[in-house]
Symmetry: C2
Subunit: 451 residues, 2 copies
């Protein structure tokens, strides 16, 4: 849906909701995709949102809720009665239901789980046991599994039974009598085979699966590497316990990239793009600003200690910004490459040594070029060649230090299982600033007689 | 494949390649997935790489090449003879073939296109006409389309004919006699229908398609929004011309996120994570470092102009870093949220006004809090309340200015069809530094008698 269509339909629905014209609204929304309905609903005022949402039947309402962004979802759920909520959760796929239930207050979650279908409730409870950001935390219990002894015709009967419950059937998973995953069969191959062909004859035995506790980012990397449209999830014994489909993996990829970018920008917890509360935004942004604040107080302290040098050569103060900025920029370049390369799996510990050496070499080149440039500038502008040389050496040192910090800190954090993206933000920049200024003024002070 | 397995197999293959032990190598690699083979090959030395690659038959070689990262792909292609290259291109899907051909020197590309199957060659030439980053540039000509008059049995016959050529068949596209796309039918529904059912009875008429010239990032956003496993591509007349599958869209999502992150970090052109040439890395990183360099020379010029004030209150120099850093960090936070929110489609012009207002409010809160803190620090540390007030006002102003620049510049760039991510890097940081220092020292100079 185009933005201008969205705006028009939001305006129309707001108007009709004020008029309480249910028939007209129904006509407007009857053919819309749940994702578009979610878009519209997230743009309505609270009153209108509640009114429209209550018009939807439970099935569509559950599809819409699954498509909503976090902010709108929480806003909406708070408006719903317990019975309406249960009705909606009952219609959801197990993974979406689990997401929603996990965000409810505990007492309400328990009540909802008691009201819904007992099998659905058991599935949600099982899924809730897994960590949120793992394969087990994002998998769904809706999938088609057939025994390897089945023939194609029997498998099709199983698909028929499951077709209401399971969306996106492109493969059936093949298991043995112990429910151990042994293969995967494409619908395409089933359609082309004779109906009495054994599934085990057309299945692919080299099935790629993931363990329940694998991190979701790695699950997405595996899916992308092997071009998988859905991934079977197995437990420690190899038993098939769930399925993750491409649409959820696409969301994981986008979320992980957004999370990394935000961390790199010094946003502490993930901020929703549609966040409506300035105080919640403040809560995720202020902490890293304060880290920067404290770090730069240290810079001030360092500069105060070099007050004598600065008083003698006031020009040294003029170049504080360039020393800070060159270190900052070079450091961010290095750390961004490392953080992102590790996140997508393209940089592995396998060749990380060579990558770091290359960073060092690039830093050396950048440092020499920028050093020569600043030397020329100082010589021409101030006519002070010696001061220019000190500044050039400082710049070279600062760029190398910043690049190496930028390249190595993410690797070290990764070793200790800390998200490397955290390192790339204000933390590296601030420490590079502090160290850079220390290097710069230490050089000036040592070579002061010579300037 | 685990990293340690990869390392082991790379070591083994290197050893066997030195021994020229073809049989053992074949045994090692026969069961490997092309993506794993690609991984191995990209970790081998040039010599070994060439040796292993020449052992592969054209079909597997083409799968491997399609999975390689850009750096390894270009390295490898340069080693291949024209006839071997043609043989491999002939086996590739049209989209992968087009990617490869587009990277060849023109004369070589022409020769290869002449040698391959005439229909494949025509497809590649058609695909080459589209811009690289559009739906037309990433679509493939391999898909299954059936006429709406077909019944299920006839459609299955068409799938059978195409099943060798087309991977990942989960849907068939339904067209009319003019080849206009009219619907989409899931294999699941075909498998469950009677064989004489008309395709038009089971197809979904609300088919979501994209135009050939739609930007690939928007294509990926549409696929993610509507959970599409493959998207039909139509020309200006609504005729079906190609298909984009989830695996290519996953790559687009990862690439676009990586590109944005790199641009935000001041890396001019996309840098490959496995880039081996320090000079190519320098080429993409130095430009923005030099932009920062020039910008900070301007800072030096500004500071020189305020030399008199600085001489009178040398303490003013101590707080240059904190003024720069607070502006820089606050600006990056705002611009990252805007750039990423617009890239994923979660921030639209629809509610951008409210988002900017919220940024302003957050900046005000951050600025007031940090301002009060710095006032306290200065009052306690230096005992200079008036200087503290000036610094506090400067900090508030700088944070508001930086946040507003960070929020607004991406929106403005977007209006002029420039990638907003460019704005978030050294450009915004540098201009915020320059403006921040100007504000800070202007305030000090004006209120000098009062300090």
């Amino acid at each position: 849906m185009e933005i201008k269509d969205l705006r028009e339909i939001v305006d129309n629905i707001s108007f009709l909701a004020d008029e309480r014209d249910v028939t007209m609204i129904r006509n407007l929304i009857v053919d819309l995709h749940p994702a578009d309905l979610a878009d519209i609903i997230s743009h309505l005022s609270d009153d209108h949102r509640k009114f429209i949402f209550e018009m939807l039947n439970a099935e569509i309402a559950s599809d819409v809720i699954a498509e909503l962004d976090e902010v709108s979802k929480i806003d909406l759920v708070e408006m719903l009665s317990e019975s309406r909520l249960s009705e909606i959760v009952d219609e959801m796929d197990s993974d979406d239901a689990t997401d929603l239930v996990s965000e409810l207050p505990e007492a309400l979650a328990e009540k909802v789980l008691k009201k819904i279908d007992i099998q659905d409730s058991a599935e949600v409870m099982e899924l809730l046991r897994h960590e949120e950001d793992t394969a087990g935390g994002i998998m769904a219990k809706e999938f088609v599994a057939v025994n390897q002894k089945c023939n194609v015709d029997e498998a099709i009967q199983i698909i028929r039974q499951k077709s209401e419950e399971v969306d996106n059937i492109y493969y059936v998973f093949v298991v043995d009598d112990e429910n151990i995953l042994v293969g995967i069969a494409a619908l395409k191959d089933m359609i082309l085979a004779k109906s009495n062909t054994k599934i085990s004859q057309i299945m692919d035995r080299d099935v790629i699966s993931v363990d329940t506790d694998l991190d979701q980012e790695e699950v997405a990397n595996i899916a992308r590497k092997y071009d998988l449209v859905s991934i079977p999830v197995i437990d420690g014994k190899g038993k098939l316990v769930g399925r993750i489909t491409f649409d959820d993996l696409a969301d994981v990829m986008e979320d992980e990239a957004s999370e990394d970018m935000q961390r790199m920008a010094g946003i502490a917890d993930e901020e929703e793009f549609r966040e409506t509360s300035a105080f919640r935004i403040l809560k995720v942004r202020l902490p890293w600003l304060l880290v920067g604040f404290m770090g730069q107080l240290l810079s001030a302290l360092i500069l105060k200690n070099f007050e004598a040098s600065m008083n003698q050569i006031i020009a040294s103060a003029f170049f504080i910004p360039i020393i800070m900025a060159m270190g900052g920029n070079a450091g961010i370049q290095s750390s961004t490459i490392m953080v992102r390369g590790m996140a997508t799996g393209e940089i592995t510990i396998f060749h990380i040594g060579r990558r770091v050496l290359r960073e060092l070499f690039v830093a050396l080149l950048n440092g020499v070029i920028c050093g020569i440039l600043i030397l020329i500038v100082i010589a021409v502008w101030f006519g002070k060649v010696n001061f220019g040389i000190i500044l050039a050496v400082a710049m070279l040192t600062v760029i190398i230090n910043a690049s190496m910090t930028g390249a190595l800190v993410p690797i070290i954090l990764r070793k200790f299982d800390v998200d490397p993206a955290i390192a790339t933000g204000p933390f590296i920049t601030t420490s590079n600033d502090v160290i850079g200024l220390l290097i710069y003024f230490a050089l000036i002070t040592v070579f002061l007689p010579w300037v």
